[in-house]
Amino acid sequence: MHRQFELAKQQYRHRLFSYAWYSLRSRADAEDIVQEAFLKFWEKRDGVQPQEVGAWLMRVTQNLIVDHVRRRKARAQWSDSEADLDQIPQEETPDMQHVGTLKRIVEHSIAQLHDPYRTTLILREIHGLQYQEIADILRVSVEHVKTDLFRGRRKLREIVSAHPLYHHDLLTP
């Protein structure tokens, strides 16, 4: 079992952290959520099939993120964590200092999306998962995933377009 736990750590901790960070844009919160997800995995390890570990961890992380966002909204502390962006170590995101305005807007806007659009979009665009993999994680049909993805992309465009820093000149000619 220790072996399975170690494998899961190596295989999924970056993905879970990325998912949490792009959802919350806070390194501390993302780390806490990943730690908690793995702790839950350890506690429930007997009930998780080896082939289900990845999807199981993603679902747990998704629930933790949703809870976290809900608590944060309840505390009315929802804020643009621009400072957290700078906390990402430079070697992890080498181009972060040279990132274009549109890229920053897109990153910020992804975190503004509601679930399931945010999760679907992150899993598909950032992690490059196949529709079927996303469907397995979210326990929905592939068609459902596609619908959420297309709606999520449209909503993302709306959020980006409404961002105060966005203007058409940011687009590549």
Partner: protein, 183 residues
């Protein structure tokens, strides 16, 4: 909302744009609308640009997962075992015990003190009678009362004869009072 000569509104174009870009939606009218609508062309450029940015976002390096503590590393337990383990924690056990003790004391103080008498044994004037004996005595008494009602001053021998046939064990004279046993 513009309706172009290709007979499609911008709203319909935008609704299908992402599916079209993903190759999930095929339609010449989409391309025709795209070619003729500046606003939708810009929306499509934005969609492509956002898509390119999003897919290029890096997967970030996660934290080192700390090894669970010894307490967290306890072997998997059943719900019952975990519950038992929880109850054995001093912080839970001591208050729980105190609570139970307080509840018992309250009940003891509020309830009238019950007599420790076997409900099947009744003691009358220091003599123990069983429930069965009391029931038979009651039946005898009822019979005697019926005789009295019926015959009034009928000779006591009649009543005595009837009573002798009854089941009530007659107590020793010095231990019994004259009055019939009361329940």
């Amino acid at each position: 909302m513009t309706k172009t000569p290709d007979n499609i509104f911008c709203g319909a174009f935008l609704d299908r744009l992402d599916a079209w870009l993903a190759g999930e939606f095929d339609g010449d009218h989409m391309q025709a609308h795209h070619d003729s609508c500046e606003s939708c062309r810009r929306e499509m450029r934005l969609a492509r640009e956002i898509g390119a940015i999003a897919t290029a976002l890096p997967e970030l390096r996660g934290p080192d997962i700390r090894v669970p503590t010894a307490q967290e590393l306890r072997p998997a337990q059943s719900v019952l075992a975990r519950l038992r383990g929880t109850w054995l924690q001093p912080l839970v056990l001591v208050p729980a015990f105190a609570l139970v003790l307080a509840a018992v004391l309250v009940v003891q103080l509020r309830e009238p003190r019950a007599t420790a008498i076997d409900p099947d044994i009744v003691i009358i004037d220091g003599v123990e009678y069983t429930r069965e004996e009391i029931q038979k005595a009651a039946a005898d008494l009822e019979l005697a009362l019926r005789y009295i009602d019926k015959y009034g001053n009928y000779p006591a021998q009649v009543i005595s004869a009837e009573l002798e046939e009854s089941h009530l064990p007659l107590p020793e004279p010095q231990a019994r009072s004259e009055a019939p046993p009361t329940i």
